[in-house]
Each structure stands twice: as structure tokens, then as C-alpha cells.
């Protein structure tokens, strides 16, 4: 067992864990509120649906990004020396940004959806201060995360050459120096994240120019920048989670998961292609050149398949006939990989032009992203959090409780996404507060069933939190 207490990033990681889990519970409450409105159980509160949807969306995207980044930075201390000061700077920026997001949505009623697609933020029914506060929050978060990424890249550069960190020597057939796949995947993710955040910077500058100087923007350009940022940040969060699985899952199997030619090729391919996959968000934009639409479909397939196949087969090979120690951590890491795969397949289906024509803006979209976020990345991160605090205080997990939490999480989570899939396949549109008319009325029943599963998930998370928090207090005293 690794001695986590010697890692100087233990304390800040513990703070990240507490913030992340508390935020997760609050955002699940918002999900329950939204599903209740859609179930016709909260008549007259439809007006609060869209601000809640905005906060739930941006909150979850941000939460899982910072949570996965925090544990990646912590684990990286095995190989690298990222700055502790930068970790605190990122934490403070994140906390300030989160408070501002809460105020702009819950008090200011900002309700443009999490990716604030232009020109909606400037033409909503909410006051202009809430738009300004929301965009300022994104700016502060962006600054904090950009510095975080630059520092992580600096730490990689201090130990590895760029080619080595990306595993190019494996592609050339060499095996030395040995570079863990964790480093290759996080290097790919960090470099791509710089592009993603640069896109957000350009986007925000254009927003500010219109807000303060009246210089109008091109909707197509803004949409490209929005999804360049939005699509990448979600994907990169998942890659960070997968990197954690590559590093931690072998500890439960007594086998190693080493870097090799195929792993290096797959993840370098991701770096080249993932940036272009966002084009699939613009299939409905006829003004986008046709070659970009073709590129979108090709990039969607090629960016996801190599890395997913390598990771899934690698994970299965690691577990198959091994003396796997099953507990909450190993279950969540393994099942998280499975959720990532299932959600990824559903996403690739939706990124196919012919299918997207039918599924665009239906509940199939929240179905697939909840699968890879809730049943994929969240499980990986929550699994590692559990492992982290237990490891820090040197205690074993309670297996009976772990089983109950895992079972409730699985049933609740797959129930939630299952109802989204059923509704999406039935062409029920997404982002509707109610489904009380015409041929979309079945959406109400889907929401009601989905709500029951959300309560199951909430129970699982509360049990998880109670157990985690008891250990967390002990760990915090020790760190």
C-alpha cells in the first residue's frame, strides 16, 4: 500500500474530494428537481427548470473535470513534481467560479444551457448582470484551469522529453525509457486541454466585445468555438479518468498495465483527431462547409475507437483470470470503464449523420452523455476517492457496505440513463420542462420512472458520502 501521507498534495486532494462530493450531491438534487417538474409533480415551477438545467450542466462538467484533474495531479506525484501553490490557486479560482455560477443561475435566473450558445446569453429573459456574472465565472474558472494545465505540462517537461511523454519511442519500436501509460494519456489530455481553453478564451473575448462595445459576432464562428471548447472539456475529463484506471486498477490485480506501441499509437491518434470531432455538433448548420461535416463523422469514429478498444481490451485482459480484489474502488473503476464504453458507443451512434438527423436534440443526447459521465467518469473518480481516503488512514473498505452502495448506484444510474434512452429512441425532445401535449406526452411517464431511479442513486451517494466523510475526517487529521 502506498504511503499517501508523504505526498504533499494529500491535503489539497482531500479538500478537492470534499468539495467535489458535496457539489455532486447538490447537483443531483437539481436533477431530482428537474425530473420532478417534467413529471408534473411541481406545477408552476417550470420557470426554474432552465436555470437549474444550466447550473446542473455546467456544474457537472466542471465538477468532473476538476475532480479528475485533482486526482491525476495527485497520482502524478509518483513520477512528477507539480506545484502545490498552483493546486491551491486552481482550487480558489474554482470555488469563486462555482459561487458565481450559483448566484447567476439560482438568483439571476441565467438559463441559456451549460454551453451558453451565442447569441442566447445576450437575448434571454434574465437580467444582464446574471449574464455578466456567468461569463465572469467562466473566465475565472478558465484562468485557474489554464494555469493548472500549464503547470502540469511544466512538471511533465521537467522529467520527460515531449516525444517520450507521448510515447513516440514505443511507436518507433524502442522500450526505453519506460513511460507509464498514465503519463502518455495525461500528456495527451493536457495538451488538448490547452487548445480547448484557448478556444474558450477566444469565445469569451467575442462575448465581451459584443456586451461592452456592441460589436456583433458571427453565429457560426461562435458555435464552432463553443463546441471546440465544450466537446473537448468533456472528452478530456474522461481521458483523465481513464488514465487513473490505467494507473490504479493494476494494484488490485497484481498485474501491470504497461505502455506499448499500440497504446501509444491509440492515444497519439486521439491527440490528433479528437480536436476535430466536435464538428458533429454542427451537423444541423447548413452554412458549415460540407467537408467539415464529413470530417466530423470520420473524426468522431476515429478519435473514440482506438483509445476505447485499447483501454477496454487492456482492462479486460488485466482482470481476466487475475486474483482481483473486488471492493468498491476496483468495482467502480472497472464498471466506470464499462460505462465509458457503453456511453461512447451511444455517442458514436449519434455522431453518425444519418442517425443524428433523427436523434438530434432528443433525449438520446442526455442518455449517452449521462452514461459516460455518470456511469463512466463519475464511477472512476468516486472509486478513486474512496480508495484514497482508505489508503490514507490505512484501513480496509467495509465490503458489505461497498456492495450495497455499488448495487444501488448501478441500478439507480442505469435506470436513469435507461429512461433517457427509451425516451430518446421515441423522439422525445430534450430541454423541455414539461411534456404535456401532442405526441410527446410519453415523456412525462419516462420522467416519472427516471425520477424513481434518481432517488436510488441519491441514496447510494448519501451512503457513500457518510462512509467517505467518516474516513475523510480521520484522513484530514493525518495529512
Amino acid at each position: 500500500m502506498e504511503n499517501n501521507a508523504k505526498n504533499p498534495l494529500s491535503k489539497i486532494t482531500l479538500i478537492w474530494i470534499l468539495v467535489s462530493v458535496l457539489l455532486f450531491i447538490i447537483l443531483i438534487m437539481l436533477a431530482i428537481f428537474m425530473r420532478s417538474v417534467q413529471s408534473n409533480m411541481l406545477q408552476g415551477m417550470q420557470g426554474d427548470f432552465y436555470p437549474s438545467m444550466t447550473l446542473h450542466g455546467i456544474g457537472m462538467v466542471g465538477l468532473w473535470y476538476v475532480a479528475s484533474m485533482a486526482i491525476v495531479v495527485y497520482i502524478s506525484y509518483r513520477y512528477l513534481r507539480p506545484s502545490r501553490g498552483v493546486q491551491y490557486f486552481s482550487l480558489i479560482c474554482t470555488l469563486i467560479g462555482v459561487v458565481m455560477l450559483f448566484v447567476s443561475t439560482l438568483s439571476g435566473k441565467f438559463a441559456s444551457g451549460w454551453y451558453f450558445l451565442y447569441p442566447l446569453p445576450l437575448h434571454g429573459t434574465w437580467p444582464s448582470w446574471s449574464t455578466q456574472l456567468f461569463l465572469s465565472a467562466i473566465t475565472i474558472l478558465g484562468i485557474g484551469w489554464l494555469v493548472w494545465n500549464l503547470d502540469y505540462l511544466r512538471a511533465i517537461a521537467k522529467r520527460y522529453k515531449l516525444g517520450n511523454a507521448l510515447g513516440w519511442h514505443y511507436i518507433r519500436g524502442k522500450t526505453e525509457p519506460e513511460v507509464p501509460p498514465f503519463i502518455t494519456i495525461t500528456t495527451v489530455s493536457t495538451i488538448a486541454c490547452l487548445a480547448c481553453l484557448a478556444s474558450a478564451v477566444a469565445l469569451l473575448i467575442f462575448f465581451y466585445f459584443e456586451m461592452f462595445f456592441g460589436i456583433r459576432n458571427d453565429t457560426l464562428l461562435m458555435k464552432n468555438l463553443t463546441f471546440f471548447f465544450g466537446h473537448l472539456i468533456v472528452n478530456l475529463s474522461m481521458y483523465l479518468g481513464v488514465a487513473v484506471v490505467y494507473e490504479i486498477l493494476p494494484e488490485f490485480t497484481d498485474r501491470s498495465w504497461k505502455n506499448n506501441k499500440m497504446v501509444a499509437i491509440a492515444w497519439n491518434f486521439v491527440l490528433i483527431v479528437v480536436i476535430f470531432a466536435y464538428f458533429h455538433h454542427l451537423y444541423m448548420d447548413f452554412a458549415q462547409p460540407l467537408w467539415m461535416q464529413y470530417a466530423g463523422q470520420i473524426a468522431s469514429y476515429t478519435s473514440s475507437l482506438p483509445a476505447a478498444i485499447m483501454s477496454i481490451f487492456g482492462g479486460l485482459a488485466l482482470v481476466y483470470r487475475s486474483k482481483m480484489k473486488w471492493n468498491l474502488t476496483s468495482s467502480f473503476l472497472f464498471l466506470g470503464l464499462m460505462g465509458w464504453a457503453i456511453g461512447g458507443v451511444a455517442a458514436v451512434i449519434d455522431s453518425t449523420v444519418a442517425v443524428n438527423e433523427r436523434f438530434h436534440n432528443t433525449l438520446w443526447v442526455p442518455a449517452h452523455f449521462h452514461t459516460y459521465m455518470l456511469m463512466g467518469l463519475s464511477m472512476m473518480v468516486l472509486g478513486y476517492f474512496y480508495h484514497f481516503v482508505h489508503n490514507l488512514i490505512g484501513k480496509e473498505e467495509k465490503l458489505s457496505l461497498s456492495f450495497i452502495i455499488s448495487a444501488l448506484y448501478l441500478v439507480g444510474g442505469y435506470g436513469i440513463v435507461g429512461m433517457f434512452y427509451v425516451a430518446g429512441a421515441g423522439s422525445i425532445p430534450r430541454r423541455y420542462a414539461t411534456y404535456n401535449w401532442g405526441n410527446i406526452m410519453s415523456g412525462t411517464l419516462d420522467a416519472q420512472i427516471g425520477l424513481l431511479f434518481t432517488f436510488l442513486l441519491l441514496i447510494a451517494i448519501l451512503l457513500y458520502f457518510v462512509e467517505l466523510f467518516r474516513k475523510w475526517i480521520q484522513a484530514f487529521k493525518l495529512s
Binding site: A157, K158, I191, L194, I215, D218, T219, F228
Partner: protein, 266 residues
């Protein structure tokens, strides 16, 4: 009497001042009333249900639903005694229909008189005088006052009689109706084939493209569209999409290059 000041002057001529104020006030009120009535705001009527009124087409009386249940329906309003926009508007509309084609096959057109004293004979004569093509199977119709006002309310059409000329002031309007709902409203005396085509496409359930045209106040655009040819070409704004790549490349190489330099120095 000597007038010493502006105040004295106003007091002396107060009856004229009061008269002028009244005239200005009422003319402003009149102008405001007209301005309020002139534009037909499409947003207020879209997807609203159209009353299934009974219209007289000469040979028989039919309900509008008999028409919109078979094909999309374009409904427009004129009156036979119009000396104003009806004639140039109908001519322009007829030209657009000729360019577009498909009338009677893809869609139907009802030309409804909003003057309840009109009859079909006068309407036919008027349309002939206006130069409507006899080849196009327009459905000329009249209706009673109650139904007229119901359909006007649903489509935003209005008219106002001018006491001085005895003519009706009214907009030139085409309401696109599909399955009993208003789907588009087109206004203006000049009907372009392109705009009319959009209405018909919308009624047929096809996707109608729209994209904001060039504006001087947009600095960066992905494309510029030539309004004459309709062709688009890449514009400078497209280069902004390369900024994230450039930033990433530069910062990554800077970080790793600085590391290499420090490594070499040590």
C-alpha cells in the same frame, strides 16, 4: 395693442394656440393608431389555430379545412374596388407563383375578399383586370362578416376605411396555413419568388435555411456571401479557429523547449 413678450403673445392668440395643440394632438393620435395597425407581427400568430370558416367559391360553399386537409394553403386578402395596393400586389404575387410553379399541385391559393359587399362576379372581374394568369387555379372567395373577422383575428390581417377616399387601408398579406395552423406570414406589396418559396417549403414540412446576412458591424465571419450569386467563400474570421491550435503548439513547444535549454545548461 403692443405685445411685450412671448407670454403676452400666447395669451393674446390663445384660441389659435389651443386649436393648433388640438390639431397636433389628434393628428399624432391618428398617426399612432395607423402605425400600430400597419405591421403584422408574424410571431404573434405562428402555430395559432385558424378558424375553420365557411367560404363561398361560387359553385359551392366549402370550409377552409376542406382545402388545408388536402394541401398546404396560402390565404390572401383583397377587395374588388381597391384602387391602391391590391392590383400591383396581386400582379407581383402572380409573377412569384409563375416563377415558383406547383400551384394546385403542391399548394392552393385562396384569394378572399374582405369587403363583405363583394361578390364572386366582381372578384373575378377584378382579378382579370389586375392581370392574374388564367392558367393558375386560384380559388376566389367571399365570406360573411362574422367569419371574416374570425379569420382576420387569427392571421393578423386588418383594414380601415378612409372617410376621405372611401377606400380601405390594409396590408398586403399572405398567410401560410398547414393543417389548420398559421405557419408563416408574408407581408409587403412586392412578393419575391424566393420568399414565397420559403413559405411553401415551410408548409410542406421542409427545412428552411436562414442565416444572418452580411453586416458592417461584424468583424470576423466564417464566410462572406455574395448577395448576387448567393455563393459563399471563406472569410478571415475562419482563421480564428486556428488560434487554439497555434496557442497549443506554441505553449507546448515553449514549455518543452525551455526545459531542454535548462537541461543542456545544467
Amino acid at each position: 395693442m403692443k405685445q411685450n413678450s412671448l407670454y403676452d403673445s400666447l395669451i393674446y392668440n390663445r384660441q389659435w394656440v389651443i386649436t393648433v395643440i388640438f390639431i397636433v394632438f389628434f393628428s399624432l393620435g391618428e398617426a399612432r393608431a395607423q402605425i400600430e395597425k400597419k405591421p403584422v407581427n408574424e410571431d404573434g400568430f405562428l402555430y395559432h389555430t385558424v378558424p375553420d370558416i365557411l367560404i363561398d367559391t361560387g359553385s359551392n360553399s366549402i370550409h377552409l379545412s376542406d382545402l388545408w386537409n388536402t394541401k398546404p394553403l396560402l390565404l390572401t386578402f383583397v377587395y374588388a374596388e381597391c384602387k391602391g395596393i391590391c392590383t400591383p400586389y396581386l400582379k407581383s404575387f402572380d409573377n412569384a407563383v409563375s416563377s415558383l410553379g406547383g400551384i394546385g399541385k403542391d399548394y392552393q391559393v385562396v384569394i378572399l375578399s374582405f369587403d363583405t359587399t363583394d361578390n364572386l362576379k366582381r372578384m373575378k372581374l377584378f382579378c382579370k383586370m389586375a392581370g392574374l394568369s388564367a392558367v393558375h387555379p386560384y380559388i376566389l372567395a367571399t365570406t360573411d362578416s362574422a367569419d371574416l373577422h374570425r379569420i382576420m383575428k387569427a392571421t393578423g390581417f386588418w383594414y380601415q376605411k378612409s372617410d376621405s377616399t372611401g377606400q380601405y387601408d390594409h396590408p398586403a398579406e399572405i398567410a401560410g396555413i398547414n393543417r389548420g395552423q398559421v405557419r408563416r406570414i408574408l407581408t409587403g406589396a412586392q412578393v419575391s419568388a424566393a420568399r414565397l418559396n420559403e413559405v411553401v417549403e415551410e408548409l410542406q414540412g421542409n427545412y428552411v435555411r436562414s442565416y444572418p446576412l452580411t453586416s458592417d458591424n461584424i468583424w470576423f465571419r466564417c464566410f462572406q456571401v455574395d448577395p448576387v450569386t448567393g455563393k459563399s467563400q471563406l472569410s478571415w474570421g475562419f482563421l480564428i479557429l486556428f488560434f487554439p491550435f497555434l496557442f497549443t503548439l506554441l505553449s507546448t513547444f515553449a514549455i518543452f523547449f525551455i526545459r531542454k535549454m535548462k537541461f543542456n545548461q545544467s
